[in-house]
Amino acid sequence: MPGPGMLSEERAALQRYEQMVFIRLFEDKVDALYRQGQVRGPAHLGQGQEAIAVGVGSVLQPGDYSIGTYRGHAHALARGTPAGAVLRELLGRSGGICGGKGGSMHITSLEHGYMGSYAIVGAHLPIACGLAWASKIKGTDQVTACFFGDGTTNIGAFHEAINLAAIWGLPVVFVCENNSYMEYTPISQVTSVPQPAADRAPAYGLPSVTVDGNDVDAVREVVGHAMETARGGGGPTLVEATTYRHGGHSAADPADYRSETEVASWKERDPLLRARAALAADGVSEEDLEVVTARASAETQQIATAALEAPALDVESALVGMWSDGSAQWRN
């Protein structure tokens, strides 16, 4: 916990930093476990992109919805989803957040308003509209935040969803995490405008909004503003946040289609370094910052140890849970 002498905004900033550090270490741990053959299926990690998940998460209220992709660990964690349950899901141990049925690509925590990770590019944008549409019909002031990548801006579902959100004035904030790549292909090679999301916003009557996605404070500000607009009935915003993934598309990808200098230049802009520097400039002590890192590291270690010791899943559980009554009977 940040020291008691701090101002509350300073404390909150330090907490955000701690969350980013924790997410980084969590992903590093997943990567390591993947390399040990402990993680089944693909694992799409988000090192380098933490400022977006945490910045957006910090302006969401309890009761708000968020929804994301296969690269979704950070987005789930940033809503407060228990990291142990996420890791157990990845390892296929009991206590996994989706019972071992979803795995890395489908992390979900209804309890924390994280309405799922979806693995078909673009598919969840219409779903996000539906969440926001429900809030509008019910007259609540809930907002939905929808995360997706640059590559997603070229699929049809993107277009249909943004148009629908715009005409209905839905309370949804679309957050494009532009990390410059779809899988292996540079986004610039396959997109007809330089800014895949922001340059498309006017096609839906929306303003172009961009933000430095490696600056957690900037993300907070820009997305926070968009959320207040949405909450106040002002309709959707499409935000393009520029960032970079430090690793490959998934843990299995060596990413040798990128130059070392490109990677190095982005690592200089690491969102964690940026946040740390900003906190230091605001007078947070090195010691406080180290405490945060140490705590996150210990927590990650503890979670991993516990997860690896968790019992195996009950294999029979595979055969139930298709219908909402818990069964899976399709015939008599």
């Binding site: 919805y65 996994g96 957040i97 989706c98 019972g99 071992g100 049925k101 979803g102 489908h106 979900t108 925590s109 209804l110 309405m115 799922g116 979806y118 078909i120 598919a123 969840h124 944008l125 219409p126 779903i127 996000a128 509209c129 539906g130 969440l131 926001a132 549409w133 429900a134 809030s135 019909i137 019910k138 049809g156 579902a157 249909e160 969803a161 148009n163 629908l164 005409i167 209905w168 849970g321 298709m322 219908w323 909402s324 009554d325 818990g326 899976a328 009977q329 399709w330 015939r331 008599n332």
Partner: protein, 334 residues
């Protein structure tokens, strides 16, 4: 009791359910104006634009929005105007809606209905005439209903809307004009229960939606040959009343499955496979199927009729199954 057309039965049921439950909302193209098949007539007027939502031509957004809203507690009923258009939002149906409850370990649910016009017979051509309930049957996690009459449209649609799982309702466009007495007030037909529309002892004719009528007509004609046919309306494919069909076939020993799906892979194959596995000892003759031909659906009248199942083909199949003096004779063992 009121005489209703099948299309009016749909509209009346939507209205009934919307009155009953304010979480029921409608979404679709041109539904505010009553819909191209007039299945939402009067609903915008009664319920207003916060319950009846006209959309752009964006099937993925329509079905995806229905999904999201259902996850947030509403009970949306989405219209896909022609069921052929499921192809434009198949990801939402087959990969998202069908799977999200299971793959989130039961956290999220989709109590939604998608409904629309299915099937052929009106000259709408290859892209507007398909019976595509077989597409849905390929995908575990969605329920499938297809009413054969106005009263069934009432009962099955009401059940679909009240169900806590996603249900696709395939209305048959050639039946929209058909008329029948429909019960007033509550009428809910449980999903997963086939109906025996005509008891019989010689052969079981199994139909769904428009092919139920073919079965009935065939049964009438078969009485002339002293063949007593039992007619079963399957009503839903998922859940499937396999037990109901098996019981009938065990009694009659003969079966003709009558589907509009292409025989290559339609629900008839699904039911035939179950019979081949579980009623093998009880069958007196081979399973017979009358299916849509394995070809796209043409427009011209005679051509379309040649592709779709017909009463003649059902009668011939049933006769061949029952005719102990005919060519099927040597195939009958019991």
């Amino acid at each position: 009791m009121a005489q209703l057309t099948y299309r009016a039965a749909v509209a009346a049921t939507l209205a009934h359910e919307m009155r009953r439950d304010e979480n029921v909302v409608l979404i679709g193209e041109d539904i505010g104006a009553g819909g191209v098949f007039k299945t939402t007539k009067g609903l915008l007027e009664e319920f207003g634009p916060t319950r009846v939502w006209d959309t752009p031509i964006s099937e993925q957004a329509i079905v995806g929005a229905a999904m999201g809203a259902s996850m947030a507690g509403l009970r949306p009923v989405a219209e896909i105007m022609f069921s052929d258009f499921y192809a434009t939002c198949w990801d939402q149906v087959a990969n998202e809606i069908a799977k999200v409850h299971y793959m989130t370990g039961g956290q999220l649910s989709c109590p939604l209905v998608v409904r629309g016009a299915n099937g052929g017979g009106l000259g709408f051509g290859a892209q507007h005439s398909q019976a595509v309930e077989n597409w849905a049957m390929c995908v575990p996690g969605i329920k499938i209903a297809s009413p054969s009459s106005a009263a069934e449209a009432v009962g099955l649609l009401a059940a679909a809307i009240r169900d806590d799982d996603p249900v696709l309702v395939f209305e048959h466009k050639a039946l929209y004009g058909s008329r029948e007495e429909c019960p007033d007030g509550e009428h809910v037909v449980a999903l997963g229960q086939a109906a025996v529309l005509r008891p019989g002892s010689d052969v079981t004719l199994v139909g769904l939606a428009a092919t139920v009528g073919l079965c009935r007509q065939a049964a009438e004609q078969l009485t002339g040959d002293s063949v007593d046919a039992e007619v079963i309306d399957l009503r839903t494919l998922v859940p499937l009343d396999a037990a109901g069909v098996l019981a009938s076939v065990r009694r009659t020993g003969r079966v003709v499955l009558v589907e509009e799906n292409p025989g290559q892979l339609g629900w008839g194959a699904g039911v035939a496979a179950i019979l081949a596995e579980e009623a093998f000892l009880d069958l007196r003759t081979p399973v017979a199927r009358v299916s849509g031909r394995n070809i796209p659906i043409p427009v011209a009248k005679g051509l379309e009729a040649a592709v779709n199942p017909s009463v003649e083909r059902v009668v011939a199949a049933a006769r061949s199954a029952c005719d102990t003096a005919g060519p099927a004779a040597e195939m009958i063992r019991n």
